[in-house]
Symmetry: C2
Subunit: 234 residues, 2 copies
Amino acid sequence: MYVQVGSTSRGGSIGDRAGTSDAAVARLGVLGALVAFERIGSRRSLDRNAELFAEGDAADCWFRVISGAVRLSKLLANGRRHITEFYFAGDCFGIDNLPERLFSAEAVGEVVVMRYPRRATERLIDEQPQLARSLRDMMVCDLANAQMRMLLLGRMSAPERVATFLLDMFDRRDARRSLDLPMSRSDIADYLGLTIETVCRVLSAFKRDGLIDIANPHQIELRDRGGLAAIGEA
Amino acid sequence: MYVQVGSTSRGGSIGDRAGTSDAAVARLGVLGALVAFERIGSRRSLDRNAELFAEGDAADCWFRVISGAVRLSKLLANGRRHITEFYFAGDCFGIDNLPERLFSAEAVGEVVVMRYPRRATERLIDEQPQLARSLRDMMVCDLANAQMRMLLLGRMSAPERVATFLLDMFDRRDARRSLDLPMSRSDIADYLGLTIETVCRVLSAFKRDGLIDIANPHQIELRDRGGLAAIGEA
DNA sequence: CGCCAGTTTGACCAAGATCAACGCAAGTGG
DNA sequence: CCACTTGCGTTGATCTTGGTCAAACTGGCG
């Protein structure tokens, strides 16, 4: 029934801008729900680039990331790819009501996820109706994030996109100075609607301008948050 | 609490691509819910460009369009604007759980909407829990549409965007040959992440190529659906 | 050591933005 | 009734951003 969607609960750094500290409250609610769900979940490990599900697969379950990172992506004609979202430890995805997946999900690196069957989830919700609210909150959060990203994709320049991305990653991964970026430049490009080369050039420019340091391609040091924010908020 | 979002129920033409005819089923469910909500709603008329709500307003209600069209938009620095979504007769929007609006809503032309207070809605849901499902379905549909639009904004060329837009409008407004586009070129541009000039040029090119006719700026005749689809699906 | 996958950098190109002019219909006020 | 304005829409000339193509660099790993 209805439409599949890559639903998730993310920390919601974007939503926080308007929601002040309510996100913390939401997170608590979601956390309570997760405890309830725990007993119906099963653990699963994936190697780098392993496919968790593909476009068109039956969507009879949803997931939570335990460790590592997952990307949800979609291919379109002539090989173009778009990454809908990245999910990190604690994030949920694949909560929706469609028989088929509209996106495919792959492991960015080594990943461990919990898998929650849809049927058992529905049963649990019937027992504890307040869980429905938690699921709805996850979706609301997802929707807000999707809409902020439409803004980014539709109206922001390459430097604005990359700056926003970096700050968002620092936030979501609770990194203060040093950030581990598990995904490749190609993943970042497909997430931001740019090319690999443009992502590289912008990162190099940020480095030249003293905004960041690039210890190695997957390790970013934040040197001037204000400067980055000034570009990102543009 | 939580995050505001421009939720809606749309016909879901985009979702249909994967959901076969389930959309019809979903629509019925939503319709039933609308009947239930009818007694808590109040009617409201708006003139062209009138503001229904603004970014930052208290979000204590949601809406359904009776006639006309509404646009949900957001401004960012240096005057750039992005239109999140258009809503036509039958569509719902503003269903979310945030205290403040993240977007503003304006009348594209003359508009009549129904307004449903949040508090009364919650009460109704407590009485009839299946209504919660209808609201969730609206949100799932919204999320799917948002994600398809991210693809469009991130990875499609100007002609692909405009072709997709036109076909989507033909679908959503149940137009077979002749389509009334209530919004301005500027609205279309801000919806597709393009400039007014590019939208004009692409439309003129489509006309030159015999794909459409432009009786007047707000009246489009479809001459070659296959040709448009070939460009849009690219 | 040499290969390989991913990254970075440079030279060039093209899609679309910007700037500017013109068209056109609907008001508006003398 | 007719200048004049105003708000869109369209078209053209030019410029910029970011894409494309190509080459060099880097760090593993057989």
